[in-house]
Amino acid sequence: MSASIPALIYFSSKSGNTERFVARLAWPAARFSIDSDAPMPKPDGPFVLICPTYADGEGRGAVPKPVIRFLNNPTNRAQIIGVIGTGNRNFGETYALAGRIIADKCKVPLLYTFELAGTETDIARVRAGLKKLGRQLCSTAA
């Protein structure tokens, strides 16, 4: 995971939208297991989290439980540097809500939002953005 900076950690349910986005992004990434008993990703450096939204009409349940459990661990939380929220604009105000909640909770920037499995434009922007973040991280570390 340390080969690419920042690392990427993502949640994707069996509908697979985020997984397809990450596959096309071609950036090394660790996925949360859908199986709730499975071990959590273990970040060993700064990482960006990509998280889809599963809210009902009132915004409840937006952030998947495994992601909450993962962020409840202070060691994990200390290493998150930003979040990318995904969703569907058809859900109105709750579009990409999980990204906004995590940004707010963890006091990190909401770096980007996109719909479903993303467009070519989204892929290009996120890839360029991650590279830029990586350069900033390297220059601060040096």
Binding site: S13, K14, S15, G16, N17, R20, Y54, A55, D56, G57, E58, G59, R60, G61, A62, V63, K65, I68, L71, N72, P74, R77, G82, G85, N88, R89, N90, F91, G92, E93, Y95, A96, L97, G99, R100, I101, A103, D104, K105, K107, P109, L110, L111, Y112, T113, F114, E115, L116, A117, T119, E120, T121, R125, V126, A128, G129, L130, K132, L133
Partner: protein, 323 residues
């Protein structure tokens, strides 16, 4: 001697033993989102409706009548046609919810009509829907796929295209009016319908993917070809329908971009890649804002905007968070 066909008794449905957790997730989402048109104060739109020209009124009524037909099809034919194909009993139960909500959607348009329109206007619009060749053509294309004996996965493709693509030539108009502060209560009601259709397209698309992944490579290729050729067929019809409706107020090109954007999302619900390139799928920002108010696309990376906005207070389940 008489032949007896043994009556098959289904197992009593046990929601405490799930084969697919997505069934419960979607059931919960749909039931929490339940609504009825009476909850929306449509009569507040009467003054706004009074400012519409005759042509704008006719267009709006026709668009809503076209949407009524699609909801009627999903309610009476589409969702019930998917039920015998259900893999789990819970999926069947979710489909009964989908079928009923389609009836609520179809019924909602009549609530809008009875609030805003005369009986004569309403009757004329329903006659128009019965006779409009483009509307009838899209209904037939979908119904042919739903026919008994057809491939269950092809039915799901048609269903996702109806839920996630065919509605949008119609949904465009109330979003457009709303972006100009017209018929805003009607737009609130339409947004409730859009939210439901998004869950339907997502769920049926998810079930499609579960069936698709069981097929060998040749089977997958055949279905994918079928999906794209049906999309092309429907897209042609939608282009004609859009031109007929929207040429008169000069919105055709804007609507077509919205069609491209939604066609791509429909294909993504099935797990396929987008068809239309970004340059023809970038929707008018006013329409996007009407869809999801206060949720512009964040792009912190590009440095546009002075700084990121920390989310405003939102409904978090604090009992789950330790910090």
């Amino acid at each position: 001697m008489k032949d007896t066909i043994e009556t098959r008794v289904p197992c009593a449905i046990n929601w405490n033993r799930l084969e697919d957790v997505k069934d419960l997730e979607v059931w919960n989402r749909l039931t929490v989102n339940f609504w009825l048109p009476e909850k929306v104060p449509l009569s507040n739109d009467i003054p706004s409706w009074g400012t519409f020209t005759d042509h704008e009124k006719e267009l709006t009524i026709r668009v809503f009548t076209g949407l009524t037909l699609l909801d009627t099809i999903q309610n009476c034919v589409g969702a019930p046609a998917l039920m015998p194909d259900a893999i789990t009993q819970h999926e069947e139960a979710v489909l009964t919810n989908i079928a009923f909500m389609e009836a609520v959607h179809a019924r909602s348009y009549s609530s809008i009509f009875s609030t805003l329109c005369s009986t004569k206007e309403i009757d004329e619009a329903f006659r128009w829907a019965d006779e409009n060749p483009h509307l009838q053509a899209k209904a037939k294309a979908i119904l042919d796929t739903y026919a008994p004996g057809n491939d269950p996965l092809k039915r799901k493709i048609a269903s996702v295209f109806l839920e996630s693509f065919l509605f949008y030539s119609g949904f465009y108009l109330p979003m457009y009016w709303s972006s100009r502060a017209k018929l805003t209560n009607t737009a609130d009601l339409i947004r409730l319908i859009i939210r439901d259709e998004a869950v339907h397209g997502y769920y049926i698309g998810y079930k499609f993917q579960r069936g698709y992944e069981q097929l060998d490579e040749a089977g997958q290729q055949e279905l994918k070809d079928y999906a794209f050729s049906l999309m092309f067929e429907l897209y042609d019809i939608e282009n004609n329908y859009t031109e007929e409706l929207y040429d008169g107020i000069g919105l055709t090109e804007d609507v077509k971009v919205f069609l491209h954007y939604n066609a791509n999302k429909a294909l993504q619900n099935l797990g396929f890649e987008a068809l239309f390139p970004p340059e023809v799928s970038e929707v008018n920002p006013a329409i996007l804002a009407a869809l999801s108010p206060d949720s512009e696309n964040h792009d912190f990376f590009s440095g546009s905007g002075s700084s990121y906005v920390i989310g405003k207070a939102v409904a978090t389940e604090d009992e789950d968070w330790d910090f």
